[in-house]
Structure formats: structure tokens, C-alpha cells
């Protein structure tokens, strides 16, 4: 397990996730793409902010 392999692995997972593909790694779990819409968030002091939408990578363990 060399650095080159790890780098290639992380790049491939990232590329596939960005393309909204689910990457299954047997024995660990799967990496998935999630989109979160924008939403209003209120702080406890009454301030209301609009949070921007967000794309995230999530890991679902086996």
C-alpha cells in the first residue's frame, strides 16, 4: 500500500462521488453523494440566516 495507490483511490472516489455515483468498497461501506438544499436557520438570539445549499460526501458503513 503505497502513497500512489492511496492518492489514486481518493481521487477515484472523489471523481465518482462528484458524478453522483455511489462507490462501494467491500468490507468498509459505501461513499455517497448528498445534496442539501438551502434552508433558513435561526439562532437562539433571534437572528435568522439563510444557509446556502451544499453538496456533501457521506459514508454509509456496512
Amino acid at each position: 500500500m503505497n502513497k500512489q495507490f492511496l492518492k489514486a483511490f481518493s481521487e477515484i472516489v472523489r471523481e465518482q462521488v462528484v458524478r453522483k455515483n455511489e462507490v462501494k468498497v467491500q468490507g468498509i461501506g459505501s461513499f455517497q453523494f448528498r445534496h442539501r438544499k438551502q434552508f433558513q436557520k435561526q439562532f437562539k438570539n433571534g437572528r435568522v440566516v439563510m444557509m446556502p445549499p451544499k453538496d456533501t460526501i457521506t459514508f454509509v458503513p456496512e
Binding site: 489514486a8 455511489e22 468498497v25 468490507g27 433558513q40 446556502p52
Partner: protein, 405 residues
Amino acid sequence: MIIDKEKLISLLVEKTGSKQEEVEEQLTELINRIQEAASEGKTFEIEGFGTFSMEDDTLQFEPSSLLQTEVNNKYAGMKPIELIGAFKQPEGEEIPDMIEPEKDEEEIWTFDEESVEEETSTKADKPVNKAEEKDEVEESGEPAIPKATEEQPKERTTSDDETSAEDIGDGDLGMLGQEFSGDQSEEDETEEKEEQKKDKKTQKVAAESDTKSDPIERFLMVAVVLIAIGVAGWFIYDFGFNSLQNTNSANQNFTRQSAQKNVQPQQTGDLDKKSQDQSDPSQETGSGKKSEPQQQLKVTKQEGSHSEAAKPNNPYGLKGTVNHSISGYTIVVHSLKDQQKAEKNRQYLQEKGFRAIIQSAVVNSVLYYRVGIGQFPTVDAAEKTIKKLPEPYKSNNFIKRIKQQ
């Protein structure tokens, strides 16, 4: 699309350029290392990718910030936007500083509603400072309030709050207090102006508004008063006292005018000189101002027509016969170079009942015969009469001083 192990391996082979067996070996080693670390409770970090960790018997993955931003590249740089209009009152108990004053206010209001009558009564009797007030509240509170023992400590604290709030000034709290009518405003007033205790709601509200808008209102009042004085003074000057001095000032005006115009008559002919010898300086002005007779109408404004009408044996008047013994003013309705025409007109007017006078005058070294009607003591009387004249004369005439022949 799901990337399973086979596809992943093929992609890895493509990426690294190494053999498939090698890649499979590397991948299984990676998986084993991760599982080992997870089972031992350790974390396994892949640089630039993320961290695997074991939490609650499940494998967790925390993407690195680099991976997060790369996945989120579509929305990179977007930040939360504050929605100012959408401010809502939070529901929970724990509220930061901003809300606390409102709490205080609520306490004040409740305090007022409960005990305002009792307090105002005590304050209305005696003007006392605040420490004494509290004592009195305590003393009078015991018999008056049914739950005296329970409410006393409350009242004390709330009254403390209130005084502090008022000490802050006539700021926000004061403004709010103004909006609340009735008991609330009374309460504020009794503390702020203890001398005016007996006043009821309306008076107090008015007084408070006075104090609020003091500088602007005072300025406006002063301005209004000044304007009123100015207008009144002008009226008095124009219509009141000035009328007493009318005749004098008119004469003065005339002499001044005559002084200015004294030069002109020197140029005029012999006829004029004769008349000048006989007449006083004021009469010279009459002969002097021949070129623009219309201007003379505006020389002075005088009263006196009523005196003319009042006296039965008035030597002056529009109609009747010419009284040559008196001087005065006449309304010139014809000004002709031809003496015969002038005489004709004079006779025509005489037949109509007017006092018709012919006066000769030299204008620009040309002799004119002026046919005037009426004899008036003042220019003003003549002007008033002009308004009653029939049309051809009403619009085309001027007033001249009669030269005594």
C-alpha cells in the same frame, strides 16, 4: 450508478497504471488496515481524503476539508445570508442580552397595573423622595392590598427596576410609557413631575408631549408670535395712525416733488412764467409735470372725499359751477392744442352739469388747452371721483392742480 469492487479496481488500474493483481492487493490491504484500526478504536487517516474512525460500533468517515470543498465546488464561496426582516422572537427561556430590557418592561407594566392606584394616592398627598415613597408603599400597602405580605417584596424589586429604568432617562422606556395611556402615563408623570400631581390623564399626557417636543415647539411659537407682531405693526402703520398725518405728509410729498421739478418750468414758455409768478411752489409742480400726466395720479394717497360730501356748502365738487376763487385739483379729460375745440368740449361738459375748467399748459414748448372737470381739495378726492365717472373719462384722464388765473 453504483461503482462496485470490480469497477473500482478497473478504475484504479486505469489510474495507477499498475497491474490488476497489484491493485487488488493494495485495496484489500487498505481495507484490512482500516478495519484493524477501527477494531482497535484507532483512527485511520488518508491524507487529502478523510479520516475513518469507530464510533458506537460503526465505522464513521469524516471527509477532509479538501475533499469537502472539492465535492462542494458548485456552491463554493456561498455564505449564510442574514435575513433582517425575518426576525422572530425566540421561544426558549435562554435569551441573550437584547431581550432582557423587554422583560423588565413587562415587569413594570404588571407592577403598574396591580398597584398604581395605591401608589398614586400616596404620592398625590405628599411630594416625597423615592426612599420615602417605598416606605409609604409598604406602610399603606399592608392594609390596602389583600395579598400584602406576598406582594411587598415583589413590589420593592419591581419599583427598583422602574426607578432605574426611569433614571436611564426619557429614552426608549419613556417613549413606550408615553404610548401606554391611562395608569402607565400617570405613574410616569407622578415620578417625573411631582409638583403637578393633581392633574388628570389628559393634562399629563399633554404636558409630557410638551416636554418631548420642546425645542421645535418653542421655536415655532416664537416664530408665530414674531410674525403676528410684525403683521399687526404693519396694519397699524398702514391704516391706523398714518391716517392722522395724511394731509401733512401729502403736503410734504408735494413740496418735495416740486423741489425736484423746479428746473423744468424754466424751459417753458411765457405763459407759464406768468403763472409761476403768481403761484406758490406747489403749484409749479402742476405745470412742471406735463409730459407724463398719468404719473401724477400716484403721487399721494389721501382721504378727504367724505369731508367734501359732508359739508353742504362745499366749494368743491364734480358738478356745479366753477369757483374761481379756490384752488385745488381737477380731472383733466381733454388736452388739446386747439383752443376752440377745447372750448367746445368745455361747453359740452358744462351742459352735462360738470364743473368744466380750461387750463393752458406748455408741454415740450407746445401749448395745450386742458379741459378739466370738477374741483377737488385733494388728489385723493379726485381719484375717488374718477371711479364714478362715465366711461370715456373714467379710463382716460389725469389729475392736475388748478392754476389760479
